[in-house]
């Protein structure tokens, strides 16, 4: 029964993702390897709202500057550090302005970083571009988090 409920919840989440209600930042959602960071982020508004490349790239550049990662804008996925890749994925989600952004298992995105402070500092910088951002993590990683910002737990 639990399996069926989990499956239904998963399907509902997939449907929501498909409708653009939830943007996933996940280890399983890689960047386009043959596009630069800037192009990966700009692609979303360029495609979804039919902006010209220059307009979309301006938006993407603004977000990279806000996050403090503008130096990585020409890099492609294989050349990125874990932090740069995670930021690029997050900004790709942010630029679409979805109602919810789900950061899925950040320990897998940032294996060499004490990630809760890193993520919360990043989310604070991007606060005016975010609607609602949730972090989903394993229960055993909960002690890493500040008690004021507990993650959603994968049971």
């Amino acid at each position: 029964m639990a399996d069926a409920a989990q499956h239904l919840a998963f399907m509902a989440a997939q449907t929501a993702v498909a409708r653009g209600e939830i943007a996933l930042v996940s280890p399983e959602m890689p960047l386009r390897a043959n596009l630069s960071v800037l192009d990966n982020i700009a692609l979303i508004p360029q495609y979804r709202t039919n902006l010209t490349y220059d307009e979309a790239a301006d938006q993407a550049w603004g977000l990279l500057v806000t996050a403090g990662y503008q130096d990585s804008h020409t890099k492609r996925d294989p050349d990125l550090s874990h932090a740069e890749r995670c930021v690029a994925k997050l900004l790709r989600a942010v630029i679409g302005q979805p109602p919810i952004i789900l950061i899925d298992r950040p320990a897998m995105l940032l294996p060499d970083t004490h990630y809760p402070p890193f993520l919360f500092a990043l989310l604070e910088k991007l606060a005016e571009h975010l609607n609602n951002c949730e972090i989903v993590d394993y229960q055993w990683n909960q002690p890493l988090y500040d008690a004021r910002h507990p993650p959603s737990i994968i049971e």
Binding site: V17, A18, R19, G20, A23, L24, E28, M29, P30, L31, R32, A33, N34, L43, I44, Q46, Y47, R48, N50, L51, T52, Y53, A56, R92, A93, G96
Partner: protein
């Protein structure tokens, strides 16, 4: 008896697998063409991908390929003209040259060249995108990969094959004129008469259709094969190998069908 049963089961499974691959390729081609016909499919992002595809498939190779096509055309024209003269058939040399080069060889060579250069790259790229999960990532970001990644490649590939065929054909016609009539212009009416005889409306429509079908094949087969790649890295070279072999057979099949339609 068991041997016979196993043989048919194995052959049947292989046949069904091949049948499914070709069916999926044809379905994909249909979807790509239908998407390409819808004006709503085009936006700034898709236009960028179409332009990139034309740039990488046609523009980048234009000087080298044109030079190669000119050299090949010149050699073949000289062979035909010399042989025709030897047998007292000089009157037919120009017509034979046009039929051989413009109607048959140049479209096929262009498609093969594009297949070697771009189709293998497209097959590898799509296979790696599939293996890495990039396609799912784009779709989860509400990006329709048919519109953004696949359809523009098909359009770009078709335009590239058509454009390269047109450029090399015009060049071959100029070389054929020079080889048969020399460096003078007063034989242009004769040349035009032969051209009119060879390139009637049906033939022009046929060559257009053949080039477009070649263009469709050199993009649809690698994309469909890339999409069918299982999510295992070691399958990438196997996917490209399969895609290229299937593409070669498809191109030959189109050529044979075109020859059979014209001459049988």
């Amino acid at each position: 008896m068991a041997f016979v049963t196993h043989f048919f089961i194995r052959r049947g499974a292989a046949f069904l697998t091949t049948w499914r691959i070709w069916r999926d390729t044809l379905l994909f081609a249909g979807r790509a063409v239908l998407t390409a016909c819808a004006p709503t499919a085009y936006n700034s992002a898709t236009r960028t991908v179409v332009m990139k595809q034309i740039y990488f498939t046609a523009w980048q190779i234009l000087p080298g390929f044109t030079l190669f096509a000119a050299l090949l055309s010149y050699v073949l024209i000289q062979i035909v003209v010399t042989t025709a003269a030897k047998f007292g058939l000089s009157d037919y040399a120009l017509e034979v040259t046009m039929r051989l080069l413009v109607l048959e060889l140049l479209p096929l060579i262009t498609a093969l060249f594009v297949a070697l250069r771009s189709s293998s790259a497209i097959n590898t790229e799509i296979a790696l995108m599939k293996i890495n999960g990039e396609i799912e990532a784009l779709e989860s970001a509400c990006v329709d990969t048919m519109r953004l990644e696949f359809m523009p490649r098909v359009i770009g590939g078709m335009i590239s094959v058509l454009a390269l065929t047109a450029v090399t054909s015009v060049l071959a016609l100029v070389l054929a004129y020079l080889a048969v009539y020399g460096w003078q212009t007063w034989s242009l009416p004769d040349f035009s008469r032969v051209m009119g005889k060879v390139f009637d409306n049906a033939v022009l429509f046929g060559i257009l259709l053949k080039s477009l079908t070649f263009g469709l094949a050199v993009t649809v087969i690698p994309v469909a094969e890339g999409m069918a790649t299982p999510r295992k890295l070691f399958m990438a070279p196997i996917s490209v190998l399969r895609g290229m072999v299937r593409l070669f057979f498809a191109l030959m099949l189109i050529e044979v069908a075109s020859l059979a339609f014209k001459y049988i």
